[in-house]
């Protein structure tokens, strides 16, 4: 199924959780996630299942003034 990940279409398996997504993306370091404009605490990553059309934003800290 397709979700929108950081503004781009992304294909993932049906019934994937946020944790599955992170594992597939091989993300490390510090990041935070929004699902359909709601912040998802780290503790919920395993519990939240993704659905077709979901909008995910994954952000990090970068240089800025």
């Amino acid at each position: 199924m397709n979700i929108l990940l950081n503004g781009d279409p992304h294909s993932i398996k049906q019934n994937s959780t946020i944790k599955d997504l992170i594992t597939n993306l091989q993300l490390d370091g510090k990041f935070a996630i929004e699902l359909n404009q709601d912040i998802i605490p780290r503790s919920e990553y395993l519990k939240i299942e993704l659905h077709s059309g979901d909008k995910i934003e994954i952000v990090q800290a970068i240089g800025g003034g």
Binding site: L27, K30, A32, Q37, I39, P41, E57, I58, V59, A61
Partner: protein, 261 residues
């Protein structure tokens, strides 16, 4: 520098009154070296999307500027309304494990990056209610500065001049009025260009100065960072020493008595 002259923001004590940004550097090595030379303890960062698929071997800024060593100040740069600024702060707090000190900045237009004070105020109210410690970037309007203080921000940060302009303090009288009326720390933020600008800010009595471009766009950023560190200290000492009055005419430095001619 007197060891008793510390200041605190949101209950945390700091020694350095120079706050720096991490943007516009050539690379992470330069970022790290410049920040070390500056002696800064509070360092701003921006919150942006991760690069999906490109992040395997790329170093992370936080590996170079560690939250264990520095007090990070996530900013809401690029936000043009209260809603996105509040979302940014919530993401930053989650990303930094509950760290809730933030720099709130909401711009009104791209050319001047001037604060949209109405949107900034709306965001500040929501953020304070949600227990954020808000350091708010705003105009040099003394009334607005007081209004922000009244709603419970941790610090008010009036601009010297537009972000990245290097014009120095455009209206020192407003900055001084803000300082005189304030019960929260006042940090001059944006528009500083060189060391003397920073010294002037401190001589007006502000609690600190935040800068990014002045260091990052200097021909020698590490050297400029060192200059800024000294300028902040010199300006602070001059302020505490209490300057001499300005005079319209001369006041001789050598006595008239005992002249042999």
């Amino acid at each position: 520098m007197s060891s008793t002259d510390k200041f605190s923001i949101a209950g945390i004590n700091f020694t350095s009154r120079l706050l720096v940004g991490t943007g516009k550097y050539k690379d992470f090595a330069e970022t790290k070296n410049a920040i070390e030379a500056s002696g800064a303890e509070i360092v701003t960062v921006a919150i942006r999307r991760v690069n999906i698929g490109q992040n395997k071997d790329e170093p992370n800024l936080l590996e170079v500027i560690s939250p264990d060593k520095y007090t990070l100040l996530p900013n809401t740069a690029g936000c043009y309304d209260a809603e996105t600024a509040v979302r940014t702060c919530k993401l930053a707090r989650e990303l930094l494990d509950g760290h809730d000190l933030v720099k709130l900045e909401v711009f009104g237009d791209e050319k001047t990056l001037y604060p949209d004070v109405q949107q900034t105020f709306a965001a500040a109210k929501q953020l304070v209610k949600d227990n954020f410690k808000v350091m708010v970037y705003t105009t040099d309007d003394p009334i607005m500065a007081k209004r922000f203080e009244e709603i419970g921000v941790a610090a008010v940060m009036p601009l010297a001049a537009p972000i990245g302009s290097g014009l120095g303090i455009r209206n020192p009288y407003n900055i001084r009025t803000i300082i005189e009326n304030a019960s929260v720390p006042i940090i001059v933020d944006a528009g500083v260009g060189t060391a003397s600008d920073a010294a002037i800010a401190m001589e007006l009595g502000c609690d600190g100065v935040l800068m990014n471009t002045a260091i990052a766009e200097a021909k020698n950023p590490v050297l400029m960072a060192s200059a800024m560190k000294k300028a902040i200290e010199a300006g602070r000492e001059a302020y505490l020493a209490g300057r001499m009055p300005r005079r319209a005419y001369a006041s001789a430095s050598s006595p008239l008595d005992g002249q042999f001619f």
